[in-house]
Symmetry: C2
Subunit: 110 residues, 2 copies
DNA sequence: CCTCCATCCCTGCAACTTCTAGGTATCATC
DNA sequence: GATGATACCTAGAAGTTGCAGGGATGGAGG
């Protein structure tokens, strides 16, 4: 079993999904696998969190969805970043930087 | 007004409180002010989040509470880290490091 | 004196996201 | 024919944060 499951703080999943889609359109299952592989399984993306998150983000017009056929002949729903999604990603990355900076200051305080 | 209010992800407040108390026992209001000053007001600690958090942490035996008189002659509830609290802090600091590492990998991915 | 502000504590409710635990279906492999 | 990986989905529980209120004291300034 992996070292630690490490649960995601609120809002983090959106950031991870947005950033993953910025590297190229993809479908839900693949997004989860990509994040897990990228983090060497430090993060586990639960499907019960993933799909609701994708639906929320689609409703907010951060991502667009389109059904396609995968190479294996299975139907997959491909998500892609919208212009608003790209703006949201920039804002989230900025917030994340400010947050880690601020928390870092507290952790290093005298 | 400050640049950005920057809301706290779930679990972050506990970490901040535990770390602040590790620098010395203190009371709720002072804990909030310390965190805000340490982060140059990048983080704002809302009292509606702070006091419930302190009560939760006391119930979990991470911190102990004691009423005292402040220099101004006002009653203050002084919180201090317990042994369990110190262990919890270590675990939280470790988790935070793993989380920021993992998210960082995703943010820097190709 | 009286008002205002900072200090200091508290609670209820709304809002939100994550996670558990299910369900469905296809395809390849053994 | 069973199993495991792929691929999607939802319902409900659980948990924390934030908003909006309420209260009380003490000092400073008009």
């Amino acid at each position: 079993m992996p070292p630690t499951p490490l649960s995601l703080p609120q809002g983090t999943l959106d950031l991870l999904i947005l950033r993953t889609l910025a590297a190229g359109a993809s479908h839900g299952y693949a997004i989860a696998r990509t994040i897990e592989e990228t983090t060497d399984d430090a993060l586990r993306i639960e499907e019960g969190s993933l799909y609701p998150a994708l639906h929320r983000m689609q409703q907010r017009r951060w991502i667009s969805a389109e059904w396609r056929q995968s190479e294996l002949g299975k139907k997959v729903k491909i998500y892609a970043l919208t212009t608003r999604g790209r703006a949201e990603l920039r804002a989230r990355v900025d917030d994340w930087g400010q947050l880690t900076d601020a928390v870092g200051k507290v952790l290093r305080m005298g």
